[in-house]
Each structure stands twice: as C-alpha cells, then as structure tokens.
C-alpha cells in the first residue's frame, strides 16, 4: 500500500517560532509537493521538488522554505510562524516527467499559530 506520511496531524505553535513539517513517501517518487488548504481557496502550491536538493517556488512561497536532503523526505519550514499561516498543510508525491499521473497525498497537518 503506497504511502505518504506526514509527521503530525495537529500542531499548535506560537507566533515567531520556527516550525518544521515533515513528509516521507515510500513510492520512490521524484516529485514532492507542499500545498496549503484553506476554505474556499482549494489547494495552493507552496513549493515543489523534482529531485534531491532541488526546489522550485509554487504560487505562495512567501514565509516558507523547504528542504530535500533525501529522495523520500521533503520538509516544509516556516521561518517565523505567523497567525496567517494557520492552515491545513498537505504533502504529495508523484512520478517525474509525467503530468498525467496521479499525485498521492498525505493525511494533512492542521497547524494553528497562536
């Protein structure tokens, strides 16, 4: 059974904290993505990576960074958390060079910044 695993289902952090969201996939996929999900806005792409140590900005990268040191792991970093980053964060993975293939999603991390 293929799997994308996000390290936390729920997180509560304080404003100004540095926050790490971790994602691991076991499908040997080259592509990995971080989205945030907000009501009425659907999923918006923050960053994606198509290879180890490679990253590209998505539609809303401000306030975020990412790290991909190993193929199976993709981390999202909030350098200084703010209340407007309270959201659901979803990680996904897919095969490289195949825009017609399915993306597999993790269960999501609901982050609350207080």
């Amino acid at each position: 059974d293929v799997k994308v695993t996000q390290s936390s289902r729920y997180l509560v952090k304080r404003t100004g904290e540095k926050v790490f969201l971790e994602c691991v996939q076991d499908m040997d996929h080259e592509n990995m993505f971080w989205y945030r999900q907000d009501p009425g806005l659907g999923l918006r792409l923050i960053y994606f990576s198509y290879d180890v140590k490679m990253k590209e900005k998505g539609d809303i990268p401000e306030g975020y960074s990412v790290s991909r040191e190993k193929k199976e792991r993709f981390s999202l970093i909030l350098e200084s958390a703010s209340t407007n980053q309270t959201s659901m964060y979803l990680c996904a993975s897919s095969l490289l060079g195949a825009p017609n293939t399915e993306a597999f999603f993790g269960q999501g991390t609901r982050l609350t910044v207080v």
């Binding site: 009425g40 659907g42 999923l43 195949a98 825009p99």
Partner: protein, 114 residues
C-alpha cells in the same frame, strides 16, 4: 498559465438523488484533468482522471466525468449518491507546460442528506 474554477462551493443533495459538480478550466495547451475527493479528516484521493481518448471517464465509487473541450469543462456526476459520499471534491488540471504541477479549484463540499 492554467486555472480551475469550481462553480459551486456547496451542494446539498438527498440520498439516492443524482449530483453534478461543475468544473471549468483554462489552459493554453493540452491538459490532463483530475477529480480528487477528500473525506473528513483525511488527505485527498483520486476519483478519476482524463488523459486522452474517450471524453466520458469512469472512476471509483460510481462517479463519472465528461470532458468537453469546446466548453473547457470537466463536470463530475453520480446518478445516485450515498451518505458516504459526503466529502469535499476538488477538480485539478496539469499539463506539459506546467510540468507536473497540479492546479486545483476551490473545492465543492457535498452534503448528502438522508
């Protein structure tokens, strides 16, 4: 650039009634189209996808969608819904011009009433 519009944010429907969820997309090149479903407190899973060929696509759980190139639409339908179909549904588009990036619509929340 590609974009997706889901015309209904919420759709209430009675059990065993039909449902149609509307999706329109814009893209300057050929596209691949997807419908994903998100059950409460879960990640997204693929319902169906259109890659090429027949414009009527059948997916899991009795859902189907029709690709209409002239109207740039990809509406999702089910002839008879169950309570278990209560979920949020997302239309998404990807294409060669955008690499493997999926662009999502705002989502449609379906509430099936007994």
């Amino acid at each position: 650039a590609q974009s997706v519009t889901q015309l209904d944010s919420q759709v209430p429907v009675f059990e065993e009634a039909p449902v149609e969820l509307r999706c329109n997309y814009s893209s300057s090149v050929s596209v691949y189209l997807f419908w994903y479903v998100q059950y409460p407190n879960q990640g997204l899973q693929l319902l169906l996808k259109y890659l090429s060929g027949s414009t009527l696509v059948k997916g899991i759980n009795g859902f189907e969608a029709e690709f209409n190139k002239s109207q740039t639409s990809f509406h999702l339908r089910k002839p008879s819904v169950h309570i278990s179909d209560t979920a949020e549904y997302f239309c998404a588009v990807s294409g060669a011009a955008a690499g493997n990036k999926l662009t999502f619509g705002g989502g449609t929340r379906v509430l099936v009433k007994p």
